[in-house]
Amino acid sequence: MSMVEEFKGFWGTGVELSERAKVLSGKVGLKSEKLTERLIRFYTAQGVLDKPDRLGREAAYHFRHLLQLLIARRLVDEGVSLVAISKFNLNKSTDELEQALLNPAKDAAKAVIEKYREEVVTPKELPAMSSSPVAIANVLSEIKDLKQTMNEEVQEIQKTQYQIDKSLNNLIETQCEFYKRMESEQVEMRHVVLSTLERMALMIEQQNKEFRYQIDMLKKQAASAQDEMLVLLNKQQENRFFK
């Protein structure tokens, strides 16, 4: 069952719409704090939402308004203009709006296209066409102005591109230097470690020799002491025998 199923039978005031929107916004990953009754009234006035139903003289909203409100909120966060959102919201069926809310990537892409059409494709109003030479001259001068503006913009873009390329080259050079420095430091470190290890091995060997020498000395001392003891014992036995 779709996560919007429970909202399909909704019909209520702006406050109730705001409450439902806050609940559903959590489920579709939108921030809920901005979804107020005031925003709903503003969107209604701007034509972002369909004209509301009426209960007496008050506005009443339903499921379609809920979808339009959440889609509008998401697209506004993505920087799409209210005019483009209005076109998007009012021209889609309720099923399409539901799909747009549940599949935000497609929805955003469509709105961006709308925005692009609105900003770029809409032609500038030209002077009224007539066969008079003055009107044709006006049109030609308008075209000339447009061409100049376009050339200026192209130059600006080229300048920016050049600066970006320069910055990229600098960045690559800095990175190369950094790697070189790192490599030489690594070699140095390896050398220091190896020489320290060699020195330690030598010291251990020397200490080992000294230790062995001391053991030999001790053994010799013990042997001479044993001989002296034996001589003394023999002397004592001889004395006892003659007495």
């Binding site: 039978g9 909704f10 139903d53 209960l55 007496g56 339903h62 499921f63």
Partner: protein, 148 residues
């Protein structure tokens, strides 16, 4: 289309909702609100547009509700209004109410967007309502045609 907000049982509202495959939950909710607040509601995105009028006892003058109803029709610029409230009468004919409705309609002749008025009448009370109609629309009686 104007219908009494009676969301229960086999009332005209239920039949119409089912006939046009509208979201019954939404219509039910709207009808409940209409009765609770005694206000006329307009559901403008339905086709045909639906105007819900609160339930009445039939014993009182309905002029105020008629004012609200006509305001509602103006808000959606209705040119054709199907008045279904007396298509099925459960008890006796609510004469006071029907007379007040007819009186109100006779007064607004040229101040409304409505051009065609379709009046559903319970066939058991056709003669009585026709008589009341004559009282207010004697000159335009030719337009009163019974459709079975």
């Amino acid at each position: 289309m104007t219908v009494t907000a009676n969301p229960m049982g086999m009332a005209p509202l239920q039949i119409i909702t089912s006939k046009f495959s509208w979201n019954s939950l939404r219509v039910h909710r709207a009808a409940t609100r209409v009765n609770r607040f005694s206000k006329v509601a307009v559901l403008r995105d339905l086709n045909p547009k639906l105007i819900l009028v609160p339930r009445t006892t039939g014993e009182k003058d309905a002029s105020e509700l008629m004012d609200e109803l006509l305001e509602a029709t103006e808000s959606v610029q209705s040119e054709v209004l199907n008045f279904t409230h007396y298509g099925y009468i459960q008890e006796k004919l609510p004469k006071i109410e029907v007379e007040s409705v007819l009186r109100k309609l006779s007064e607004i002749k040229n101040r409304t967007s409505i051009r065609v008025f379709i009046w559903d009448i319970d066939s058991r009370y056709q003669a009585e309502i026709k008589d009341m109609y004559k009282k207010y629309f004697s000159k335009s009686l030719v337009h009163l045609e019974a459709v079975q």
